[in-house]
């Protein structure tokens, strides 16, 4: 109880120091957020382009077990390690800064997108694959012309999800020195500049909301699972 009551009073002091947000932190926050978005975008794109061949090699409907088992095991290993830990590994490998963060997000995206994609690819209508097999098409052609077009909605949808997720992830990768807005947050915490911290957090929140809005628009516009038709009265 004494610790709880002391904690509550500490929280009150903290809240008092958090507000009002400091406008002086806006330029630094904008720069850090831009770096965060770049890390997330580049990391997602690299992960995406690596995940397509990885997911293809993991397909039991196309490749034999001695290939798919090994590939799935490796992808599972990649997925098991959290993005934050990948960031630590890459900070050790390439040093502090956004390169480490970008590499961490690339590897993490590879692991998750590959699994999501090979599960979607294996759900493709068997009749499509049977018809293509009978044409004598080679394996890569079946993937190129059968599996990927049939899965295109899922491919794009999961890619957008991964981008949104990576933008959120990249805000905290800076806590281990891997660049982005997380690094700025840590520096404000360590120097007790809580009002600047509030500014950064608030701007990060605005960014996340904006990304959600844009992603929702892209999905509605280009991924018509359901088209809502407005009737003219």
């Amino acid at each position: 109880m004494p610790r709880l009551s002391k904690g509550l009073s500490n929280m009150v002091v903290l809240v008092y120091e958090l507000f009002p947000p400091s406008p002086a932190a806006i330029p630094s926050a904008l720069e850090a957020l831009a770096e965060t978005v770049q890390m997330a975008f580049v990391g997602t794109v690299i992960g995406f382009f690596l995940s397509l061949p990885a997911a293809t090699l993991a397909l039991r409907t196309i490749f034999p077990p001695y290939i798919t088992t090994v590939v799935r095991a490796l992808l599972g290993l990649v997925r098991t390690i959290p993005a934050l830990f990948w960031a630590v590994i890459f900070v050790i490998a390439v040093g502090l800064g956004p390169l480490a963060g970008t590499l961490a997000l690339s590897v993490y995206s590879l692991g998750y997108l590959s699994k999501l994609y090979y599960e979607a690819f294996e759900a493709v209508d068997q009749d499509v694959l049977d018809a293509l097999r009978c044409t004598g098409a080679p394996r890569l052609a079946i993937v190129r012309y059968g599996i990927i077009p049939e899965s295109m909605n899922t491919i794009i949808s999961q890619l957008l999800f991964m981008l949104e997720y990576n933008i959120r992830s990249s805000t905290v990768l800076g806590f281990v020195g891997a660049g982005g807005v997380g690094l700025l947050m840590v520096s404000y915490i360590e120097t007790l500049q809580y009002s600047s911290l509030t500014t950064v957090v608030a701007m990060t929140l605005v960014l996340v909301i904006l990304i959600d809005f844009v992603s929702g628009y892209v999905r509605r516009r280009f991924l018509p699972a359901v088209r809502v038709v407005k009737l003219k009265r």
Binding site: D130, C134, G136, P138, A141, P149, M152
Partner: protein, 237 residues
């Protein structure tokens, strides 16, 4: 049609679980240019038989001899199997994938003569005006025609069609059947199809084989079959 055997099946046996036979000693022959319908109750093994001939399943016993030639065996699955996000023309071009070995295919570069052949097939089947329409936007009858064109695109000597007009209304079914049989006859392509409709079999098949209890129990001229005789055969001991 000439007298040469294109397909010869002897003592074919198949089981999915290793215990209950789906096909239990099927014997069937098909000549070049002939159209044969296989009829039977649901679950009698008609689709399984076609898949085995197409090489998609492997029999546990028996012999299949197919003189397929370079074009191989064309296959139209029960649910057609078109790629919904591709156009009708693109779907037809997929029939050439086994023959066009150029790596440029992987970036969508089909040779001009293949594209011309695809257009010609769509024209033969009366749907060249739908070449640029996405498969998802086509009607049932249109999709069936595209599937037929895709299978013929690979220049097969044998075309396997699994209840490919089952979901169509009678007018569309007759049109698609007539076009398919005509195109096959003109190109000397043998047609082996599974069917439920005795009217269509009577009208379009040269020969009919009835599958029951895993075996062909009756074979006759296509014009001799009607619904009553089919039911009699299927219900008989």
């Amino acid at each position: 049609m000439n007298g040469e055997f294109l397909l010869k099946i002897t003592g074919l046996k198949f089981s999915y679980d290793g215990r209950n036979p789906v096909l239990d000693g099927v014997n069937l022959c098909l000549r070049a240019g002939e159209s044969v319908a296989v009829m039977g109750s649901s679950g009698s093994g008609k689709t399984t038989l076609l898949k085995i001939i197409a090489g998609l399943l492997h029999p546990i016993q028996g012999e299949i001899q197919v003189k397929a030639g370079k074009g191989g065996v064309g296959y139209i699955p029960q649910q057609v199997g078109l790629v919904k996000n591709l156009t009708a023309l693109q779907n037809v071009l997929l029939g050439a994938l086994g023959r066009v070995g150029n790596p440029a295919i992987l970036i969508g570069n089909f040779p001009a003569d293949e594209v011309e052949k695809a257009y010609r097939l769509l024209q033969d089947l009366g749907i060249n005006n739908l070449a640029d329409r996405k498969a998802a936007e086509l009607s049932g009858g249109e999709r069936q025609r595209v599937a037929v064109a895709r299978a013929l695109m690979q220049s097969p000597t044998l075309l396997l069609a699994d209840e490919f007009v089952a979901d169509l209304d009678v007018v569309n079914a007759v049109d698609v059947m007539r076009l398919t049989v005509d195109v096959c006859r003109r190109n000397n392509v043998a047609l082996l199809m599974t069917m439920h409709d005795a009217f269509l079999v009577n009208k379009f098949a040269d020969r009919v084989a009835v599958l029951k209890n895993g075996r062909i129990v009756a074979e006759m001229d296509g014009r001799e079959i009607d619904m009553e005789s089919l039911v009699t055969i299927l219900r008989g001991s």
